[in-house]
Subunit: 357 residues, 2 copies
């Protein structure tokens, strides 16, 4: 069958060799003559998977000493609450930057726990830009932001130095570019973009950040408990963690985060250049805030929608319909999407200009 | 390679044909030429998986109208807290029966929310029996119990009719025997015994039970929100749900819960008969409360441990070491463990008697 150019916004494309190994492990894992799905999570073989996955995160992101790596459950959606309950003092305040659907949800969950100070928002222009004109309050317990906004297609390129702890939801751009982990007290990220399949959530937490809220935290939401139990407080999501490990091995083998950042830049430059050049299309967010992961754009003439949809579908492109909150198109270019898939989309756009321009 | 007799206490053995289909879907799912791991959870193909899995639960357990089926995350460990926060009024009380490690953990989490009334416990005899002499208080918001205790090997064979809502953690015996769902207001169960691999948790909830606590529940812990979003409030653990669906299809095809209950009875009768007959071994829990899922036993003469361990390992038996809280041996006989694997263990015990008796 012809190759599908998989632009799914997440869960999303994974490398072919990762999928091959992942498939084999379901039948016979580590030559145990048992499936990975049917062995104990306390077995030496799975403990090794967990430990390898944690080490790969440390290595790929240059995580300094004093941080812990956890593979938990619940996605960023539970992360909104977990980050707040572990960071916000019982009489304290969390500061938030609102850059779209996911930040708004984080704010909603934090409000269930205490005071929330939304210090900046781009809601006034339907989240089409990243706010820059804000001051981080020194009296909040932390500042929270969403590094990449999948729905509208904006991304923080830098973040100001902060005197208070920084919490970041990096679900959609972790492992896509180099970061300085020591700038953060807590990073959390659902796996299903650049890390692996749906079903596990990565937490990178500075150990010193914890234990200061004065709250009695439910055990499964208490990051300190998970650290004490080395991410095995309860049965972890074995398979999603294993596939994440394979995927991080793939990233390391190919050159790590620095390498993929270069590839991702190439991909997004290629597509944004075409969006800007092609007279039939336009981007919908501020140029300087464009996401390298999710490129959003629209047809200038909406009546061409049907014809354009037929054109990309005919080219075996899948998953570029925009989110209903943003409309138009969204091309998600996560790590495993090859440059040739971006070229295929650009070719479709160019041919479409020739026939419909 | 020789077949492994997989007695793992969970994650545990799954049927070979389920593993085969599960392995294939990682490469090419539904002939989409895409892996199940890399498609959107909002795609028609995955929505169908979710809906099939929910229908299979309804059908296999004869779930009456007025109940909802959810596939969430966090295992029973998060279920301890979710069940309490959805059931205990802000000034109310939860009644609990303490039959071992898992009930004790449920009690601990509920105490973070309010009043807990432990109405019965078998802690006095290291959880080696199921308490019967208790009265369910009419003024509690619910009564909570653990249907099967994996560590000590006890199981409720019946439960008294209750005037207040009943919450049950059925992680380790759901789908192993027929139950009357209408006796319960909330059932929750980690998948990794009889339902599927680790990574998803089943909730069967009576719709009327919800909305009465007066609490502002975090969204991811709010069962009503998950019901409103048909178990797709956020990205679900796609692969564990898919494998659970395959496993429930396997159960249905072979004759359903009534059929497997018969098989499970045969298996446990065979093993318990040998434990009782063989002069070298004895059970460690009250005979009438023995679990059909996890048979616990010890060598009468501990000095024979090394020799017996060598004997079952030589027979390709895996995973029968007892939990450290209970000692001795634990043979977990979940649905997918074939009768021949139990016969293999019984043969080892009989040969061991001949050579060491």
């Amino acid at each position: 069958m012809a190759k599908v150019h998989n632009y799914s916004a997440g869960p999303c494309i994974l490398p072919e060799e990762v999928l091959k190994q992942a498939s084999e492990a379901v039948i016979n894992f580590n030559n145990l003559n048992l499936s990975l799905l049917e062995i104990s999570h306390r077995s030496k073989d799975f403990i090794e998977v967990m430990s390898n996955a944690q080490e790969l995160v440390k290595e790929l992101l240059n995580v300094p000493d004093g941080y812990s790596i956890l593979f938990l459950q619940g996605g960023a959606s539970l992360g909104f609450y977990i980050s707040a309950i572990n960071g916000m003092k019982s009489d304290g305040t969390g500061a938030y930057i609102d850059t779209g659907t996911w930040s708004s949800k984080a704010i909603k969950e934090a409000k269930k726990l205490g005071n929330v100070n939304v210090i900046a928002s781009s809601k006034d222009k339907n989240f089409s830009y990243i706010p820059t004109n804000f001051e981080i309050p020194s009296d909040a317990n932390y500042i929270h932001y969403t590094s990449n906004n999948t729905i509208f297609g904006t991304q923080f390129k830098t973040f100001p130095k902060s005197a208070i702890p920084v919490i970041c939801d990096m679900s959609s751009d972790i492992f896509s570019k180099e970061i300085n982990v020591s700038d953060y007290d807590l990073i959390y990220a659902g796996a299903q973009k650049n890390m692996g399949p749906a079903g596990t959530t990565l937490y990178i937490v500075k150990n010193d950040f914890l234990g200061k809220t004065g709250r009695d935290i439910p055990s499964m939401l208490d990051l300190q408990i998970h650290i004490d139990k080395e991410s095995m407080f309860n049965t972890p999501p074995v398979y999603p963690i294993y596939v994440s490990m394979l995927n991080l091995q793939w990233l390391k083998k190919n050159g790590g985060v620095k390498w993929i950042e270069g590839v991702n830049n190439q991909k997004s430059e290629l597509l944004y250049a075409e969006i800007d050049r092609n007279p039939l299309f336009k981007g919908i967010v501020a140029t300087e805030d464009r996401s390298n992961m999710n490129a959003t754009f629209v047809l200038k003439d909406e009546s061409q929608t049907e014809a354009f949809d037929a054109a990309w579908k005919a080219a075996n492109i899948s998953g570029i319909k925009g989110h209903r909150s943003a409309g138009g198109y969204r091309a998600s270019m996560y790590n495993a999407l090859p440059l040739e898939s971006v070229q295929a989309l650009v070719d479709v756009m160019q041919n479409f200009e020739k026939t419909n321009g």
